[in-house]
């Protein structure tokens, strides 16, 4: 067995049911050694279920998953030794110090956290060792979760929306840290994240799921994201009395309608300025509020839905890319 074969992931025709609900329907993909994967899909598409199945929290009802050289169902214990699962939901007893917390989690894993001293210095946690967790910032807690996950030197890191609770600055530092760690250790990373910049930076591969748990698109991230010409979106909540269809038609920009809300897409900052100027002109009579942000992975998903000609089941949603 070579070191690199420890990190490949082969998923064949995986199905997952919860009771009568068929959540994952025949998922197939092959992630080569050391490449990173982001799973993207709308709410209810089964992306969390798939990630948790890959992390062995759930086991597939049909099909097979190979983690490195091991079959996840028949060699669960061996497969689990290769991976670490990081969730932002993991919290700590607030009265315990970092040292006590690390002692507990390293004992549970049968490893020694002091072996990660260099890493602790890198992420600036050494000076916090005797501080109670209750005084930690969200960023420091996030770093503690990483440290715990990395104690056993995993080959595969499963990240379940880890940046969801962080502000932009902390998110940036954590992503940079994971990026450097990946460069040093050559990990395989599986993740869910809504930010295309995170996905683009960390993941070579992208898996788009349909709303009903099938693979819509699997391929190289750069190719998938590059095909979308937009970089920004402007979310708008019009006044309830406004006819949203005519409102977006009048403005004439690429857009998506979601019930009583709409989103305009812009390729450049200049285009964002054009949209916001138009919105400010109409604000008093027609608009309750609007906000500008970078494109989300959900937008990437909707764009690909249109590109692949997949019908949108939800009639409250409508897309018009120009």
């Amino acid at each position: 067995m070579t070191l690199t074969s420890d990190r490949k992931i082969i998923v064949k025709d995986v199905h997952k049911y919860f009771g009568k609900k068929h959540v994952l329907k025949g998922i197939d993909f092959h992630l080569p050694d050391g490449e990173n994967l982001a799973i993207i899909g709308p709410n209810g598409s089964g992306k969390t279920t798939l990630l948790r199945t890959l992390a062995s929290i759930y086991l597939p009802d049909k099909g097979s998953i190979q983690i490195g050289p091991y079959d996840l169902v028949t060699q669960t214990r061996q497969a689990r030794r290769l991976l670490s699962y990081v969730s932002p939901n993991l919290s700590f007893h607030k009265k315990l110090t970092l040292r006590e917390t690390l002692d507990y989690f390293s004992d549970l894993q049968g490893v020694e956290w002091r072996n990660q001293q260099e890493l602790m210095d890198d992420i600036d946690l050494t000076r916090m060792l005797d501080s109670p967790i209750e005084g930690f910032s969200e960023g420091q807690k996030a770093m503690t979760r990483f440290l715990i996950a990395l104690m056993k030197n995993p080959k595969i890191l499963v990240l379940d929306e880890i940046t969801a609770t962080l502000d932009v600055k902390k998110k940036e530092s954590i992503i940079q840290y994971i990026y450097e760690l990946d460069e040093q250790r050559g990990l395989t990373i599986l993740l869910i994240d809504h930010d295309p910049s995170v996905v683009d930076r960390l993941c070579e591969k992208l898996l788009l799921l349909t709303h009903d748990g099938k693979v819509m698109k699997y391929g190289n991230t750069s190719e998938i994201i590059k095909q979308i010409p937009y970089a920004f979106d402007v979310k708008v909540i019009p006044h309830p009395s406004v006819d949203i269809q005519s409102f977006v038609q009048e403005l004439g920009f690429s857009h998506r309608i979601m019930g009583q809300m709409c989103q305009f897409y812009a390729k450049t900052k200049n285009e964002v300025d054009e949209i916001t100027t138009e919105l400010l002109n109409r604000q008093e009579e027609e608009i309750l509020e609007f906000s500008v942000s970078g494109l989300s992975m959900e937008d990437v998903y909707w764009h690909w839905l249109l590109l692949l000609g997949i019908p949108i089941e939800d009639r409250t949603k409508r897309l018009d890319f120009r």
């Binding site: 689990r80 939901n89 993991l90």
Partner: protein, 287 residues
């Protein structure tokens, strides 16, 4: 104003009843609690009211009877409560994903919690409870002391210690079995607590099981003595209150030792199987 209050009240009652209806198991559990309480205190009342229970060893020792029962059970009830709370508590900390993906057995976590609770309770017992019991055995009110002194010889001390260790293994097994309910069902806390309350009651904690005879339930009394915690508490009381070592004490210790160890092993296997099943059904994610 009154209409508004009435509307809010009505809406809340309907909503809460709807929620309760979704957890029908809790209705049944509450009913069972009520039934167990009624029966328990009915029997205790019968003991206090009647003095003609055949072969009742503790005539005139009802206080000591209850004190030994309390000391025996206090060690295990706290450990049991903490043990069955392990899975919900870990879920609340968001640690189940970490636990599962690191292949940490839930039984191990429960056993860890059970042990730490036992240590905590034992320290409390030794520092506070036992000295108070000893003091009460010296304070006189009229002709007699508040409590009769417990009989403690080296032989009784060793046997009592053995009985407590075996009971500990048995209750740990029961705790793991009860915790599997937490893996399968949502909000099964009340049911798991009912489980321990029943064991406590059936051990003769609140009333001597001999009282069952006065209701013509001698067979039931014999059946209850098959439960390890029941016959071990019986032996403990007999030794500490009357100073009588049961003739079959070695048999009791060996049989209960085997039963407790087997139960513990089966409980661990059951928990492993149920946890594996939960990975398919997703029930651990209920929390």
């Amino acid at each position: 104003m009154v209409n508004r209050t009435a509307a809010v009240l009505r809406a809340n009652i309907i909503r809460n009843l709807r929620i309760d209806w979704k957890y029908k198991l809790n209705f049944i559990t509450d009913l069972a609690w009520l039934a167990v309480d009624v029966i328990t205190f009915l029997f205790l009342g019968q003991v206090v009211a009647s003095s003609d229970i055949d072969n009742f060893l503790y005539e005139g020792f009802l206080k000591e009877f209850l004190v030994v029962g309390v000391i025996y059970w206090v060690i295990f009830t706290r450990a049991y409560k903490d043990g069955v709370s392990v899975i919900p508590n870990e879920a609340a900390l968001g640690a189940l994903g970490f636990i599962i993906t690191n292949d940490i057995t839930l039984s191990d976590l429960i056993a860890g919690q059970f042990s730490s609770s036992t240590i905590k309770t034992s320290i409390t017992l030794c520092i506070f409870v036992l000295p108070i019991v000893a003091i009460l055995s010296y304070i006189r009110i009229g002709e007699t002391t508040i409590l009769q002194p417990l009989v403690i010889t080296l032989e009784i001390l060793i046997l009592s210690f053995l009985i407590l260790i075996i009971s500990w293994i048995f209750m740990l097994g029961i705790t793991i079995v009860a915790s599997t309910l937490n893996v399968i069902f949502k909000k099964s806390g009340p049911l798991t607590f009912l489980f321990s309350y029943l064991l406590t009651m059936l051990s003769g904690y609140f009333f001597p099981l001999e009282v069952l005879r006065t209701f013509g339930l001698s067979t039931l009394e014999q059946v209850f003595y098959l439960i390890p915690t029941t016959n071990m508490l019986y032996s403990l009381r007999s030794m500490l209150i009357i100073g009588t070592i049961p003739l079959n004490i070695l048999f009791i210790v060996i049989i209960n030792g085997i039963v407790s160890i087997v139960l513990f092993i089966l409980a661990m296997m059951l928990m492993r199987k149920i946890t594996r099943k939960a990975a398919y059904s997703g029930t651990l994610e209920f929390y």
